[in-house]
């Protein structure tokens, strides 16, 4: 009997234990995240077969829902928690050696001439990292709207702190922007939750969903807009994503990988759960599809104009979020499956891109794309990984991006609506722009000889190993998409069928 609550309780216990443990040994902290995440990955995989048959509903404290908080480990929850554990594990292996090799950071430390920086904040980095992932796991597993808010805050606050972790000018400034927008977003979310509680007298998501039709649509509309706006800040939906490029480009690269690969996706998950399961709102889906395409085009166009590689990747994440949102708002079985597939594919590819870019930046000592000229010969393996990630994100055939984009196009065509056809045309235009800027980077890496001579050293093995695993995953799933489509199909079914969700939780 595996209990999903272990996925949250065990990481929390170990994160709480780190301050006490580090009194004995300073080095212990950095090995805690990989160990915990291996554990989480195993638990998630053990839960998966049961969750596919029937969602595992666990109530906390021994009361029956709706009188307690409950966790719902359905296909969606377990899929997300497995991805969080997997990506988190690989990135934590990467950060064993990559704590702060950012050149800017090192300069600042040299300037301030203060010793002892390495040890103190490094253990804080690992605690915050672990708690960020725990928050993300909590968001995807919980079945209670206020509990979702609490875990969302865990996720957000630890990412504010991690964005500021390098303590350089850019990092602090972006963290401030991120914090202000995020805090306003969470306040709006809380107002929305309060309105829902006032209307329905309960906080259990299934219970609210059951009663949603008893109140006039107009008074439900306001809390829905407030909640979606609040969650949309983290999910980087178009008018709410001004913080993202700054935050993702000035965080340490390992954190950028997590923010781009996990935090945004969890935000999107929360938006979807609220729209599909709680409100069952089909009326605003068209608007969301439009918003998705707008987000996509703006993200890709801005990415095209960037000369800073991490900002380019960050804007590309905005574009991808738009595509995923568009696919999910088609709200057919194909569409949601395609959207979830694209989400998985974006997580793997973007994490790989940020990890590879991290060491390239470190060696080149600059974030400008032009400074990376000729890197292909200096760091062949890292650049190969970067290229594979880029090709996968663009959607070239042998990689995971191809089947996911293919599914989205098929879903849009199968819906047989002219509006959607126009939008998918625009989405393909966005993909073309995406291809253009990624090929530009790849061309700089391989086909230009550098004027400046960057240090010719490959990344260390602790960084190459996770990148290698990402590459293997991207290629294998790209060739045999059947490995994941089964899970994705049942996940899509869970999201679309709110009556089953209500029945599973409330019995």
């Amino acid at each position: 009997m595996v209990n999903p609550v272990l996925l949250i309780a065990v990481p929390l216990a170990l994160a709480f234990a780190i301050p006490a443990l580090s009194l004995f040994s300073k080095r212990i902290a950095k090995f805690v995240p990989p160990i915990v995440l291996v554990f989480n990955l195993i638990i998630s995989l053990l839960l998966l077969p049961r969750a596919l048959e029937n969602p595992v509903v666990i109530s906390i404290g021994g009361w029956r829902p709706p009188f307690c908080i409950n966790l719902v480990a359905g296909p969606v929850g377990v899929l997300f928690s497995a991805i969080i554990a997997l990506v988190g594990l690989l990135v934590s292996v990467y950060s064993l050696d990559y704590i702060h090799p950012d050149p800017f950071y090192i300069e600042e430390v040299l300037q301030s001439k203060k010793g002892g920086v390495k040890e103190g904040p490094a253990e804080k980095y690992h605690m915050l990292y672990l708690l960020l992932l725990t928050g993300a796991t909590g968001v995807v597993l919980t079945g209670d709207i206020f509990n979702l808010f609490v875990f969302f805050e865990i996720l957000c606050i630890s990412s504010y702190a991690l964005v500021a972790y390098l303590r350089d000018k850019a990092g602090i400034e972006s963290a401030v922007k991120y914090l202000i927008q995020g805090a306003v977003g969470s306040s709006l979310l809380l107002i929305g939750v309060g309105l829902l509680y006032g209307l329905f007298g309960t906080l259990n998501m299934a219970h609210i969903a059951q009663n949603i039709r008893t109140v006039s649509p107009i008074s439900v509309f306001v809390p829905m807009v407030l909640i979606i706006t609040g969650l949309g800040v983290e999910a980087a939906i178009f008018p709410l994503n001004a913080w993202l490029p700054d935050a993702h480009s000035s965080a340490p690269s390992s954190i950028s990988a997590i923010l781009s690969g996990i935090a945004i996706e969890v935000g999107l998950y929360a938006v979807l759960r609220v729209i599909f399961t709680i409100f069952g709102a089909s009326s605003i889906l068209l608007f969301l599809a439009l918003l998705g395409i707008l987000t996509l085009l703006i993200g890709e166009l801005c990415a095209f104009c960037q000369s800073n590689i991490k900002r380019m990747l960050a804007y590309s994440s905005i574009g991808q979020v738009g595509l995923i949102l568009f696919a999910l708002s088609i709200a057919t079985s194909y569409g949601v499956t395609g959207g979830l597939f694209q989400l998985v594919s974006h997580t793997l590819s973007k994490a790989l891109l940020f990890l590879a870019a991290g060491y390239m930046i470190y060696r080149a000592r600059s974030m400008e794309i032009s400074a990376l000229e000729g890197m292909g010969r200096k760091m062949p393996l890292t650049c190969l990984a970067f290229t594979i990630g880029a090709f996968s994100l663009v959607g070239l055939p042998p990689f995971i991006g191809f089947p996911s984009k293919f599914l989205i196009v098929r879903a849009a065509l199968a819906a047989k609506e002219t509006f959607l056809l126009v939008l998918i045309g625009l989405a393909l235009l966005g993909t073309v722009i995406e291809g253009a800027y990624f090929f530009r980077v790849v061309q700089v890496l391989y086909f230009k000889t550098g004027k400046t001579d960057p240090e010719g050293k490959e990344a260390p093995i602790a960084a190459l190993f996770p990148m290698f695993i990402f590459v293997v995953l991207i290629v294998v799933v790209g060739i045999y998409p059947k490995i994941v489509t089964g899970v994705l199909n049942s996940a899509a079914a869970e999201l679309l069928n709110r009556l089953d969700y209500i029945r599973n939780v409330l019995g």
Binding site: E173, S174, V176, S186, S187, I191
Partner: protein, 119 residues
């Protein structure tokens, strides 16, 4: 007076929320913006508590035996607000630490003047 009786708390709560949002949207000084966040939080908390109030209610504590449970106010919003207050102070503390660092870097707290990064 009946109108005020019914809505005075809502008016107070949303008044605070709007003043808080106004400060955040309009002011340039970071500490001022954080003060605005605090006011916004207080407003949201007051709103949640007033949702749970019951006319002529008593606090949900059985401090002596035989207390009337019929008119007790809803305990759930109070529990939520306890959580929200602590989360609010956590965010404020983190924001202020960032403000201190920002001042050390730039020598100003005016967000208009701090434009290292652009679109």
């Amino acid at each position: 007076m009946g109108f005020l009786d019914n809505y005075i708390y809502y008016i107070g709560a949303f008044g605070l929320i709007f003043v808080g949002l106004y400060i955040i949207l309009v002011k340039h000084n970071l500490i001022k913006v954080i003060v605005g966040l605090g006011i916004l939080d207080t407003g949201v908390n007051l709103f949640l508590i007033s949702v749970g109030y019951i006319a002529k209610g008593t606090a949900p504590i059985f401090s002596r035996p035989g207390i009337d449970s019929e008119h007790m106010v809803d305990p759930v919003p109070q529990a939520l607000v306890l959580t929200a207050i602590v989360i609010g102070v956590a965010v404020l503390a983190l924001a202020l630490s960032l403000a201190i660092r920002l001042y050390q870097h730039y020598g100003t707290l005016n967000l208009r003047k701090i434009r290292e990064q652009r679109w």
